[in-house]
Symmetry: C2
Subunit: 411 residues, 2 copies
């Protein structure tokens, strides 16, 4: 049993995570929130109290922290007595937070893969470039590290593992489809940090096809599906974290990721990208100033958190799995539908933050209660899927399975 | 008679102006070129010598100058003995260069209206906000100042005055149409300094309609014409310098400016503008850096000068004039066609710089020879048009007039 949680990161996902931890503080114990900007931690804590979200009276405290500083992070883990660290900070801090957990024995959970600021779309598998280099260290220290337990990566990995184990004898393909059919009503905005958002699409799209890594250009390959609730949706082959562990951990020849984009988004993205405005490499102005164009684009776009109050509509994220069972061809779609306005009403964030933040808190509960406290580094598909899925069914993220004309809650 | 020319500005137009001055240095005398960046002056001078463009042996010298510094500009005018100053520098330096001319007695010529860096599309008439405030000073000092003598503004003003004087009893409308039917082969680029180029389109489009100033949004109003040589072209109602003097100096109820844009240009412009990336107002990055987005866009776009070698195709700029003559309705189109590759072969710049730079040198010749040395501040429509038009016919910028099916050289 582990108790006391340190949440690192106070953006849109951090907002969801802290609210959900507060709703389960009878199990999780003290809740601490740390960010470079302590004001953002305080605002989240205020919103928790405003919604009376604490299940039982307890500790909920803000901290200023530069999570790139391993010693400072270790000191905060020790001073707070946190046995579980939920890292929902910037993707650049994963490795330093992980190191602090290894050196203090705290369990480590994150929702996205590590990135180095100066590298985009490295050679696959991405986890081998960073996190997996600490596998042996976790094993030796008996440290639990659950990588990528947001929705995608995360829940979609659990769906993939479940399909292989329970629904198929042999799986030919897993197509992870992520559609935001909602609208924020602004000319253009990204749903999370633009710097991280755009980095997903400016490089090559690596996917796993016929048991090999294949590169495509972004927006080169598309598909259209009739999805539950959100209907006909066009999505594009995209590189994404989960392919880099699923391809190594599951015996499936084709694992692809598809993200939905509207024509307007693609047009704006294409213009910015072709002009070089999404580049992470600095340029020099006439004034002599050295400026990273992508950081300027970030500065002029709406703050993603500011979109939540007006966000309407639903998201649909799931795994379309094809293969054979008992000699018959089979196809299932395992998925979740989330509603932006419902998420905002409950925790003050839109559904994209909600779907990323709820799973990592469910995972923290499973670690706290021992079921996922595996004392080594794992990706989600290596853990039992149904405990996570059942727990989330009661936490606002129900999973469903559609097969032919049948569509039911997965429990 | 005036002699010795100081050219201020060493961009694409400066390149044309210096070449053309050199081709006429028997009349103009010594040629001096000044810029903040003296290297650019030297490169232009090297290209003049490379093309053996000096008509007679003579002085052709580079100078470093901050033209915002009135005292430094006066000192350079005096030390060079320049009696004619051709200002083709940044639009922000007009007022300081003009002041230096007033205080030294040198004739002043420019090709575009003054702008203050922090103001976009001020209330009309624009000249009254800046240059015209120095009219009395020019009159008192007997200083010749010819404002806006590029192609547009400039030659199109001469066409307008000529039409009113020689072709019509009464003019209903003058539509100035500017089409670049050429191609630079790049994804996106502006044909001159992006900072100045975009500023023309980010504000309101002020035009003179029914003897009043009317505001439209950019790209709100379009027309399509079948133009000589370049054929069917769509142009958009745009605010432009010349409307602000022609409306005051000619008795014409409708004076409008139309600029041609391709759909791709409009799309890129619209995306950048809607996102706020064309703003001259600074934003703050996460790093704390203060950055002007428009300057970043300038930094990532191709240097306009770099487009010239590959530029193909032609420009068409002219005045479509409608009215009555001897009781009959009449319509004439007075225009020039220029070729990008021809301009590059002659002076190393594309046709957009060429059409701006040749007229100001023709004007300098008319000032040097006395015909335009009026010892006061004027816009081009206040001067005799035919001497300019005839001179340019022999300088690479022939003017033509089309009426019905007839189309002839204007001389």
């Amino acid at each position: 049993m582990k108790r006391n949680v340190l949440v690192i990161g106070a953006g849109g996902v951090g907002q969801v995570v802290v609210h959900k931890c507060a709703q389960h503080n009878d199990v999780l114990g003290d809740i601490h929130v740390a960010s470079r900007n302590v004001r953002k931690c305080r605002e989240i804590i205020d919103s928790v109290h405003h919604k009376h979200a604490m299940k039982v009276p307890g500790v909920l405290e803000p901290h200023a922290l530069d999570a790139m500083d391993v010693d400072a992070t270790k000191a905060l883990i020790r001073s707070t007595g946190a046995q579980i660290v939920i890292n929902v900070g910037h993707a650049f801090v994963n490795m330093s937070v992980l190191q602090a957990c290894i050196e203090t024995g705290a369990a480590y959970l994150d929702t996205a893969i590590h990135e180095d600021a100066d590298k985009i779309c490295e050679a696959p598998p991405w986890y081998a470039n960073h996190e997996w280099k600490r596998r042996d260290a976790c094993e030796q220290q008996g440290v639990t590290a659950v990588l990528g337990i947001g929705f995608d990566p995360g829940v979609v990995n659990a769906y993939a593992a479940l399909a292989c184990q329970a629904y198929f004898d042999e799986v030919d393909s897993i197509d992870i489809i992520d559609v935001n059919a909602g609208s924020h009503g602004r000319y253009f905005a990204t749903n999370f940090n633009p710097e991280i958002n755009f980095r997903e699409f400016t490089g090559r799209a690596w996917t796993w096809q016929d048991r090999q890594w294949v590169q495509n250009a972004m927006f080169e390959v598309q598909r259209t599906d009739d999805l539950p609730v959100v209907g006909q949706q066009t999505t594009y082959l995209t590189g994404h974290d989960e392919l880099h562990s699923l391809s190594q951990n599951l015996d499936v020849p084709n694992i692809r990721f598809w993200m939905g984009f509207g024509e307007h988004y693609i047009n704006v993205f294409t213009v910015l990208n072709n002009l070089g405005l999404l580049s992470e490499k600095p340029v020099w102005l006439d004034s002599g100033q050295e400026v990273v164009p992508l950081q300027v684009v970030k500065a002029i776009l709406p703050d993603p958190a500011s979109l939540a109050p007006a966000y309407q509509g639903k998201t649909c994220i799931g795994d379309l799995v094809r293969g054979r069972k008992d000699g018959q061809a089979r196809e299932v779609f395992i998925y979740n539908i989330s509603d932006h306005a419902d998420a905002y009403a409950e925790v003050g964030s839109q559904a994209i933050s909600y779907t990323a933040g709820v799973p990592v808190v469910a995972a923290a509960l499973l670690v706290a209660q021992g079921e996922w406290d595996v004392r080594r580094m794992v990706n989600v598909e290596e853990l039992p899927a149904m405990p996570l899925i059942r727990l989330m069914n009661g936490m606002g993220l129900p999973s469903r399975i559609r097969e032919g004309s049948a569509d039911r809650l997965l429990d």
